[in-house]
């Protein structure tokens, strides 16, 4: 197997796993339907980009953006994670306090659409519609990113990021705190009646999820070396929701499984289909990608109807020393 192809697959898998772990924490475990998830990945990507890019006068000055500090790895990745967390604060503050939960979801969805519109139209801020290009990948000043060994390097740092993200999410979910989150998900009013502060819990998880989402964005932009509004349209969040629903809500293994089945598996199948000219030219252009979305929708509806707990359901917690 081609190293570049394998690296591509592994890195995308890593990014999707990290993203799904974060979304599962917010949605699967805590019941926050964060329809604006992709915005948090995007802000992480933008932050990492402007931290690692040279000032915008470089490269002939064809793009305009803030920042351009040309900082070395790992600062852009850390910056991306922090940006995700910081964005969660005002958004959470507005949305998560007094609204009923389905309205929260709608508000976040609308935010996702609007954020994309605003960034597209704000030309000088983050490159506008064209976005940011020529983003220097980590260590690019020392190793040529086009070499095979660089692919191994990138896979390596991605895996480190996955391990860290998993460790964090795992500790949160499989702890008494995670139990409080699940209780809030099950029945918020009863959770308040036993002393849990739902607003506080939601805000915290929104921020933690934002941090991890931001990290995934930083990894992605470092790999593809460009970022534009067309990459983070609001339906991208839905793919991740499908992944979490299919893989199994409320548990990290399910989230990983979902990431492998939906964003990764699905994309691979589509790529294979598209590479066959007989199929790619069938019907109107973009038929395959349009059908992709239809299938994503069907997957969500199908699983919600037939198997809402997902392929790998949330495990039952049994404690040792109890009755059989």
């Amino acid at each position: 197997m081609n190293t570049y192809y394998a690296a591509n697959l592994l890195i995308y898998a890593g990014i999707d796993i990290i993203a799904c772990l974060a979304l599962n924490l917010q949605f699967g475990v805590s019941g926050i339907v964060n329809f604006s998830f992709i915005v948090f990945q995007a802000v992480g990507a933008y932050a990492a980009a402007v931290l690692s890019l040279p000032p915008d006068t470089a490269n002939g000055g064809f793009q305009h953006y803030v920042g351009g500090f040309q900082l070395p790895f790992p600062i852009p990745w850390i910056g991306g994670a922090i940006a995700g967390g910081l964005l969660a604060i005002p958004v959470g503050f507005v949305v998560l306090r007094k609204l009923r939960s389905d309205y929260q979801a709608i508000a976040l969805l609308v935010l996702s659409v609007i954020a994309n519109t605003v960034i597209t139209n704000a030309d000088k801020f983050l490159g506008g519609a064209a976005g940011l290009a020529l983003v220097p990948p980590p260590f690019s000043d020392r190793i040529d990113p086009n070499t095979e060994s660089y692919q191994y390097l990138y896979v390596g740092i991605t895996i480190v990021a996955v391990v860290i993200a998993f460790a964090v999410v795992n500790r949160v979910v499989n702890s008494p705190y995670g139990r409080s989150l699940r209780a809030m998900r099950e029945r918020e009013i009863a959770a308040a009646a036993i002393g849990k502060n739902p607003v506080n819990l939601k805000m915290t998880i929104f921020i933690v999820g934002g941090v991890i989402a931001g990290l995934s964005g930083a990894i992605l932009v470092g790999f593809i070396q460009l970022w534009a509004p067309s990459v983070w349209l609001y339906p991208e969040t839905i793919i991740l929701f499908a992944a979490v629903i299919v893989g199994g809500r409320g548990n990290n293994i399910g989230a990983i499984l979902g990431a492998l089945l939906v964003p990764v598996g699905f994309e691979e199948v589509t790529r294979l289909l598209n590479s066959n000219p007989n199929i790619a030219n069938l019907g109107p252009p973009n038929l395959i990608s349009a059908l992709q979305w239809v299938i994503i929708g069907l997957l969500i509806l199908g699983f919600l109807w037939f198997r809402p707990q997902g392929v790998r359901p949330e495990p039952r917690r049994v404690f040792e020393g109890g009755a059989d």
Partner: protein, 294 residues
């Protein structure tokens, strides 16, 4: 100054379009507790139907009726085949939002290979400009305003005087009690979807007529404006949606004159945020978007 008076004129048209759409949307929520995120896509589908009829030489006004019928049937089927079964299964409100979003994505992507990405417009001569001071509106725009007024009065009459309307209000207030009082809730709900679906389809054609051009991507932009109007007025309150439409229509047109037309949805979103922060229940509703108490 004249710029703003002219913008006021556009605001009249805008608010008319939004009102037709928002009232339908808010009634779906008020009576069936469903935030129908596919509303925008149904509007666009109807707009395209009218477009193909228009291309075949049929008058846009007939296209409007066709759009209304299409929207009516489509929305009714959507509820019967998708929403109602999930609700009967006990899916929570939050789950229903995911369902409706999935549906909305499916509709727009089923439409995409058929109609393509690019914007289209109706072939319709909007008529000569009719002036009233600094306000200059075309004949078509005035017809749109008239249609909106007639429909609002019709909805008012429906809700106040007709048996169905009263049954709708009862079902909105307390579905269990309504059922226990012998109101055929299933039939009421079906009627709601048929009627609001017609409003939805009609609104789609009207909105497309009012815009220079439209494409599938406009579905989500419509939805945001409608949401803003509905939430501002008080979710589930038809009269609230009318008031919300008036305000949103005016404010977005005035801001478009003051700043830039591209940001109309952003302004609508800004209003939505303000409402949610300051008064989540909206202007008229008693509870609306607020978290349920007790």
């Amino acid at each position: 100054m004249n710029l703003f008076v002219a913008a006021f004129g556009f605001g009249l048209v805008s608010m008319s379009v939004i009102a037709i759409a928002a009232v339908g949307f808010t009634m779906q929520f008020g009576i069936t507790n469903m935030i129908n995120l596919a509303y925008g896509e149904v509007m666009i589908s109807s707009a395209y139907l009218a477009y193909y009829l228009n291309k075949a030489g049929i008058s846009i006004w007939i296209g409007m009726v066709a759009g209304a019928l299409f929207g009516s049937v489509f929305s009714f089927l959507l509820n019967r085949l998708v929403y109602a079964p999930f609700m009967r299964k006990g899916t929570a409100n939050l789950g229903m939002v995911i369902v409706s979003l999935a549906v909305s994505l499916m509709i727009s992507n089923l439409l995409l290979p058929i109609v393509g990405f690019y914007s289209v417009s109706y072939q319709e001569d909007p008529g000569s400009l009719i002036r009233l001071g600094s306000i200059a509106l075309t004949r078509d725009q005035i017809i749109v305003i008239a249609i909106a007024v007639v429909l609002m009065l019709g909805i008012h009459a429906l809700l106040t005087y007709s048996r169905l309307g009263k049954a709708m209000r009862a079902t909105a207030a307390n579905p269990t009690l309504a059922r226990n009082c012998g109101i055929p809730t299933q039939r009421v709900i079906d009627s709601v979807w048929l009627i609001t679906g017609a409003l939805c389809g009609l609104a789609g054609v009207v909105a497309a007529l009012n815009a220079d051009s439209f494409a599938i991507a406009n579905g989500s932009a419509f939805l945001i404006t409608i949401l803003a109007a509905a939430v501002l007025g008080g979710a589930g309150q038809p009269y609230g949606a009318m008031i919300g439409a008036v305000l949103i229509g005016l404010i977005t047109e005035l801001s478009a004159a003051a700043w830039s037309p591209e940001y109309k949805e952003v302004v609508a979103f800004g209003i939505l945020v303000l409402v949610m922060v300051l008064r989540p229940q909206g202007l008229l509703a008693k509870r609306g978007a607020l978290a349920a108490a007790g």
